[in-house]
């Protein structure tokens, strides 16, 4: 049994083209053609990396992309980001840039009216509280180690007592219960300790 490509019938006829060639009469439009809707695509990514992934911008919905068939560009709806379809891989970077640009201007109270409207729309699509917590610098705190095993517990300078998770507790391994210490502490949502660094021992009171 042989297999031939040279003599095979052309199975990929463009029927629309054939019809167009055949019809020579003039076509008259009776009404203005309906505006063709721009197709919308979803970018199925919930996080936008900022600072090389060390900080993530959490989105509350998948970004919607509106494609303009005339220019083959797409726009991230409510973000004010426009890119050629051929450069789609730059979308996460451009979303991060747009967010940082608007955030920085909002912080410096330099938003134009148009940017302010866009910033409000962007804020509707991101978890801004999480972003602020994630990017906040660690605070210097003082406290006393109450116990290390089986559960690590500390009492902070304001009298608040807190349990620390395993990986955070490891930082305090060199301390004994009763030791006073100072450290830079990164807090997360609900003041949960994420990490402790630059530990110093303080003289007991």
């Amino acid at each position: 049994m042989t297999y031939s490509a040279a003599d095979r019938p052309d199975t990929q006829i463009d029927f629309r083209q054939e019809v167009a060639r055949g019809l020579r009469s003039q076509l008259v439009a009776r009404q203005e053609p309906a505006k063709v809707e721009r197709p919308r695509y979803m970018f199925r990514q919930r996080y936008v990396p900022i600072e090389g992934g060390r900080l993530l911008l959490r989105l509350t919905a998948f970004p919607q992309l509106e494609v303009d068939p005339a220019t083959m560009e797409f726009e991230a709806v409510n973000w004010g980001v426009r890119l050629p379809c051929s450069k789609a891989e730059e979308l996460p970077k451009m979303l991060a840039r747009r967010f940082l640009d608007l955030f920085s201007k909002a912080d410096a109270e330099m938003l134009s009216t148009e940017e302010e409207a866009c910033w409000l729309k962007v804020l509707d699509q991101v978890d801004f509280t999480a972003f602020c917590i994630d990017r906040a610098a660690p605070h210097y705190l003082e406290g006393t180690l109450l116990q290390l095993e089986p559960i690590c517990r500390v009492e902070w300078h304001d009298g608040v007592r807190q349990k620390l998770d395993g990986s955070v507790a490891c930082t305090l391994q060199s301390l004994y219960p009763g030791d006073r210490f100072g450290a830079y502490v990164k807090l997360g949502r609900d003041n949960v300790v994420r990490f402790i660094e630059r530990l110093v021992l303080l003289p007991s009171v």
């Binding site: 031939s4 490509a5 919308r40 990514q45």
Partner: protein, 276 residues
């Protein structure tokens, strides 16, 4: 049920060494569970490591629309179309051709080894790459277990890879293949579209499945081209696999593909593929 469809006589024969197999691409893929947040947090540092060995970053973009068929009528799926971007890296030869590719979607790691008649890579080269990168990938993204492996070989039968079997612009497939040619009725030749796919369960535990696909390459217009693809997919038991376990499964999958290669191609074709 264990191995089926095996020709006992063929399997007893010592394995032949092929100097110029018609293979165009070998793909090895592993899957693991990585959540999106963890993947994106660690991707940039992974990319930095990967690009030392695979310097060309060429992301694969897909604008996907979903179409389903009901009673022969294609309908748009109600799910929204989506843009999918897959991170893809390549190592190229001096003349700019892709030799090795690595794809890093969120839940898997895939290696593509491209072969041409003048460059004789083999399974050992592909295996070496998986062996080097799989433990790093698992460590970097905290993948505890491999949940699936797949090995896929695409063979290309065309005037370049099967020269003696081309006569007057036609591939004499009956001299190359032993399977998927016998069709009932009288006819002069096979012409596009030509597509035969079969899937067999190789073993139940671990569940391993082999897929054959023999099909005319409709992308190629200038010359008759037939692709002969073999893929073996293995699902480990519930507990999953560590890196060593996954590597052993690739060896198993490779053996299964070689067995089928021996059975699907004719003796005449195999002699040609093993001669200088």
């Amino acid at each position: 049920m264990n191995l089926v469809w095996m020709d006992a006589e063929t399997l007893k024969q010592p394995r032949r060494h092929y100097i110029r197999p018609p293979i165009a691409e070998r793909v090895a893929t592993v899957w693991g569970n990585i959540d999106e947040e963890h993947f994106l947090t660690n991707f940039e540092s992974w990319r930095e490591q990967v690009q030392r060995a695979y310097p060309h970053y060429e992301p694969h973009k897909e604008w996907l629309i979903m179409v389903k068929e009901r009673d022969g009528v294609p309908l748009y799926d109600t799910l929204q179309p989506e843009l999918r971007i897959t991170h893809r890296f390549a190592r190229k030869s001096d003349d700019g051709r892709r030799e090795f590719g690595m794809r890093c979607p969120q839940d898997s790691l895939a290696f593509h080894l491209f072969t041409r008649p003048d460059v004789r890579h083999g399974y050992a080269t592909l295996f070496g790459e998986i062996q080097a990168w799989l433990p790093q990938w698992m460590r970097h993204f905290s993948v505890q277990q491999v949940t699936k492996v797949n090995l896929y070989y695409a063979n290309l039968i065309d005037p370049e890879t099967a020269k003696p079997f081309v006569d007057n612009g036609q591939l004499e497939l009956q001299k190359v293949l032993r399977s998927f040619l016998a069709l009932p009725g009288a006819h002069e030749a096979l012409i596009p579209p030509y597509d035969c796919t079969a899937t067999v369960l190789l073993s139940e535990n671990p569940k391993s499945v082999l897929t054959f696909r023999i099909h005319g390459d409709t992308e190629t217009r200038l010359q008759p081209t037939v692709r002969v693809d073999f893929g073996v997919e293995i699902f480990p038991e519930k507990a999953g696999l560590d890196a060593d376990g996954a590597l052993r499964l690739f060896d198993y999958a490779h053996e299964r593909i070689l067995e089928r290669f021996e059975l699907v191609f004719t003796e005449e074709a195999k002699q040609f593929f093993s001669s200088e």
